[in-house]
């Protein structure tokens, strides 16, 4: 894999070859290894290497400007020149636009942190982890499935204003789902270095939950329940809410529930929602696709809508600064946050168990599955529980129950939030994104139907 310096040099050469006065390029080199297991055996085991370059040119005309982007995964000068030729042909024929996002200038106001990156895991390390999961389940008559993954990525952004950004990150995850005899449980661990993944602890956690939930499932009638959401469940709602509710483009086009409410109270005053992509536990990129350095952004502070996810175009329209949520121009997509976190200016419990102790009759949810939108203007979401759903009675988890579908207004959700835990976990969510998420106690959470398992 190319080094960061190799990539910076390549970026410089590619930029120098540009026939356009205004050019921006992104060069990425990545390697990933993923070992996948199911039915307690390794089913897929892959190693992927990829380098790519993305080129954008801007041409100014008397009537406006034109911009377009092309990509290639071949970095040799012949391929790059071919890519520039394709770009020139496009820019020759598309009409002028009155609005084109310019290049982000050099001299960004935010510091870029440097974390150590790590090589991807060797296949033998991943196989050893799978053996641990397989052995633990075999002894109990259950089946295990999951992944051991690691990746390393170097990104370089450069544009003709002189802005140069380089980013080297690594991430790894061990995920283990254990199922059998009607029960299910999940454990997971994330680290920058795959050698530090907590494999045994993840397997134990999944197994413990599976054993408990395999003790005979009961059905519970749909309706409103007090719920304790474990970090994986809460993270799913937080990240999805960020996608559908906090886009500045959606705000400008009146397509979000909070339209016209910037600066106004939208939730319970104890709720603060933020995106902190630079937190080392999140481990994301340090700059966005438009060359804007990322930083912590607070969207909702004590219930008041303070900020939206902006790119360069929406920030200019709203007369605010970009928030580091832009994707490569040109595009028609919404800038969205990927790492929504929750702060709570109120009652906090030490952990999930303490939240459970405050519930007279309710439901403990381990995880949500396939969350999706019901109504963007409420906004309401639906999805299913999975990997361990339990009845809480008199402050104790008493029995496993069959999975249920929720249909829930997120405005009501934040207003009915009563407490969160002080401990938290880094959770990767189903459709992408990640959150440092606590557990939460929410009153009157709506389940609309059940299922057979």
């Amino acid at each position: 894999m190319m080094t960061k310096n190799d990539l910076l040099k390549a970026a410089q050469d590619i930029l120098a070859a540009s026939p356009f006065k205004e050019t921006e390029i992104s060069v990425t080199a990545a390697e990933s290894a993923l070992t996948r297991y199911g039915d307690s055996k390794i089913t897929q085991n892959v190693n992927q290497e990829k380098t790519s370059v993305s080129l954008r040119g801007i041409v100014r005309t008397a009537k406006g400007a034109r911009t377009a982007r092309v990509e290639t995964d071949q970095l040799d000068s012949k391929s790059v020149n071919r890519a520039y030729e394709r770009l020139s042909k496009i820019l020759d024929v598309i009409p002028d636009a009155d609005e084109v996002a310019g290049l982000h200038p050099a001299g960004d106001r935010y510091a870029v942190p440097v974390h150590q990156s790590h090589d991807v895991a060797e296949p033998e390390l991943a196989a050893a982890a799978v053996q641990i999961a397989s052995k633990a389940t075999k002894e109990n008559g259950f089946q295990s499935s999951g992944t051991f993954s690691s990746d390393r990525q170097i990104q370089v952004y450069a544009n003709s204003t002189g802005l140069r950004l380089a980013n080297e990150i690594s991430d790894s995850e061990f995920a283990c789902t254990i199922e059998g005899k009607g029960g299910a449980g999940r454990g997971f661990s994330n680290q920058a270095n795959a050698k530090e993944l907590k494999v045994e602890a993840s397997v134990s956690r999944a197994l413990e939950k599976c054993v408990f939930s395999a003790s005979g499932l009961e059905s519970v009638a749909p309706g409103n329940y007090d719920v304790v959401l474990e970090p994986a469940a809460l993270a799913e709602l937080l990240v999805f809410f960020g996608w559908i509710g906090l886009s500045a483009k959606g705000y400008l086009e009146d397509r979000v529930f909070c339209k016209g409410k910037l600066g106004e109270k939208i939730f319970n005053e104890r709720v603060t929602l933020f995106d902190d992509p630079l937190n080392p536990e999140i481990g994301g990129s340090y700059f966005d696709g438009q060359g804007v350095a990322k930083h912590k952004v607070t969207f909702v502070q004590n219930g008041i809508l303070k900020e939206l996810a902006n790119d360069l175009k929406t920030a200019a329209k709203l007369k605010r600064g970009p928030t580091g949520h832009g994707i490569e121009e040109p595009n028609a997509s919404d800038p969205i946050p990927w790492n929504i976190g929750l702060e709570w200016d109120g009652d906090k419990a030490a952990n999930t168990g303490e939240l459970v102790s405050r519930v007279k009759r309710g439901i403990l949810v381990t995880q949500f599955h396939y969350t999706n939108l019901v109504d963007v203007m409420i906004p309401s979401l639906t999805g299913m529980t999975r990997n361990g759903t339990f009845l809480i009675e008199d402050g104790k988890v008493t029995k496993p129950i069959r999975n249920m579908r929720f249909t829930q207004s997120m405005t009501e959700f934040f207003n009915n939030l009563e407490a969160i835990s002080r401990d938290h976990e880094r959770v990767s969510t189903f459709f992408g994104g990640a959150s440092l998420s606590p557990s939460a106690l929410v009153r009157g959470f709506h389940f609309s139907s059940g299922t057979e398992f």
């Binding site: 290639t72 609005e99 296949p123 992944t147 086009e253 397509r255 028609a332 999975r386």
Partner: protein
């Protein structure tokens, strides 16, 4: 010339893998061209034309799988990654229950390509931009439209596959599609209406002739007017109704509640941790009533225009057609060479597909269609006493066993005493898969049967995207829960 060079490189890779200890190896070298054009509110917001080259080598060594891929076609890199794939396979073999067993397949040396009348990459960009801007102009003729967006997308994928069995397949797949959406705002609401479908439109394995057939301009005014009308429409009522699903929504219903549950890798637990398993466990091959007796669902990778149509899958298995549900009874799964024997079959159904060069092939939904019935569309409406007609998928969610589902659509209409009535906004419905398909009591005939392409089906880890079509004509389902709050 190209094919000769690619064949040489491919054979070098699988020879290296054999020398390193592979008992089986295959390689796919893939060259992809992709073009997209996107407009929004009178502006061209994206025009891109991308190229990608790379290879993925898959091996069996010591009875287990290994895979490595790269965009670097240098022979030294090919050798290095062939050896890497073998090392990975050997690591896999340390957690193995039984050695990989591949169903036999005839050796072929052939070329196949998507029938294509007009090469989409030969159509000037300015013609594509003009089409979308013409539609955009019509959409924005009403002030309630806050966003008019349109897109066209074209992919040409040339792939050279070689296997240690001796097959060499040179295949070129072409896909074209697009659509547009009018977003209206007002009355403290926002509503989308799309043509010909949501989520980017409709797609086919075809050339630009498919875009011409969609006749975007003629449909723009109605799409715009429906978006505006939805702002003041009543919210879909809550209750139990007879439900008629139109094409795009029925396609998603087929996809999520028949397609994914019948992927055999999923049934066997290979997707359990991420996407989940399936309620369609293998003992149901002995007899299971999937739907009512009028329900016939056919998989067909030979179907002209189907997004999943190909000459051969990524196992090198020739395209096929078979019933998965016949007269309501479950008949067969989607299989690959590795898993066919798990259900007593001697040959793969040819459903192993990969996303580009960099991923390993996995079992995917092929083209899967609901065969037409004998109802005229007008007669079906006339025959419905208390129903609701829903069209154009907006949202979907289904549990990890593929039983409890909930779908939202862009628009719905009341049906009272055989007549279409008022428009409803925010429609949705919920059900349990076999109960739902067993409640199907009417399917429209061939006159309204058409292909709907799903061009963004995600599956696997690392996530892969695949394409397939779900042909259908509108169908009625009895006593369905609608208007879920």
């Amino acid at each position: 010339m190209f094919a000769t060079e690619m064949k040489k490189l491919a054979l070098r890779a699988i020879d290296t893998a054999k020398q390193q200890g592979a008992s089986y190896a295959d390689i796919r070298i893939i060259y992809t061209q992709h073009e997209s054009v996107e407009t929004e509110n009178g502006r061209v917001v994206e025009v891109s034309r991308d190229e990608s080259w790379g290879f993925g080598i898959r091996v069996v060594a010591q009875g287990a799988w290994g895979f490595a891929s790269s965009n670097d076609l240098n022979p030294d890199t090919v050798d290095r990654l062939a050896a890497r794939a073998v090392r990975i396979a050997k690591a896999s073999s340390s957690v193995m229950r039984e050695p990989v067993r591949l169903a036999p397949e005839p050796v072929v040396n052939t070329r196949w390509q998507t029938p294509c009348e007009i090469d989409p990459f030969g159509v000037p960009v300015e013609a594509k931009v003009k089409l979308l801007l013409d539609v955009d102009k019509i959409l924005r003729q009403k002030p309630e439209i806050v966003r008019a967006s349109g897109n066209l997308s074209f992919t040409k994928e040339r792939q050279w596959m070689a296997t240690t069995d001796g097959s060499f397949i040179d295949q070129e797949l072409v896909r074209s599609g697009g659509g547009f959406t009018a977003t209206a705002s007002g009355n403290n609401d926002t509503q989308d209406r799309s043509y010909p479908a949501g989520h980017g439109g409709n797609f086919r394995s075809a050339g630009y002739e498919f875009i011409n057939s969609l006749d975007f301009v003629s449909h723009a005014a109605q799409t715009r007017d429906e978006a505006v009308a939805l702002l003041t429409a009543e919210v879909c009522p809550t209750g139990v109704k007879d439900l008629i699903l139109e094409g795009h929504q029925l396609a998603l219903q087929i996809h999520e509640s028949v397609g994914h549950p019948l992927e055999l890798d999923r049934v066997l637990g290979m997707e359990a941790s991420f996407a989940g398993r399936s309620f369609m466990t293998t003992e149901k091959l002995k007899g299971f009533e999937y739907g009512s007796s009028i329900v016939n669902l056919v998989a067909d990778t030979t179907l002209p225009g189907g997004l999943g149509t190909c000459g051969f899958d990524d196992d090198g298995v020739a395209a096929q057609r078979w019933h998965v549900v016949q007269d309501g009874q479950f008949k067969a799964y989607f299989t690959n060479r590795e898993f066919a024997h798990e259900v007593g079959e001697t040959r793969s159904r040819g459903c192993n597909r990969t996303w580009g060069f960099s991923h390993i092939p996995i079992v995917r939904i092929p083209n899967l269609g609901l065969l037409p019935g004998d109802w005229k569309y007008e007669d079906l409406i006339r025959d419905t006493e208390d129903g609701i007609l829903m069209a154009t998928n907006k949202s979907w969610s289904i549990d990890q066993m593929r039983l409890n589902f909930q779908f939202g659509t862009e628009i719905a209409w009341e049906i009272k005493k055989g007549k279409l009535g008022k428009m409803y906004k925010n429609p949705n419905y919920q059900g349990i898969t076999p109960e739902f398909w067993r409640s199907c009591d009417a399917i429209c005939d061939n006159d309204s049967w058409m292909l709907w392409g799903v061009h963004n089906c995600g599956k696997g880890e690392p996530m892969q995207v695949a394409e397939m079509s779900h042909a259908n004509s509108p169908a009625r389902f009895k006593k369905v829960k609608v208007g879920i709050r």
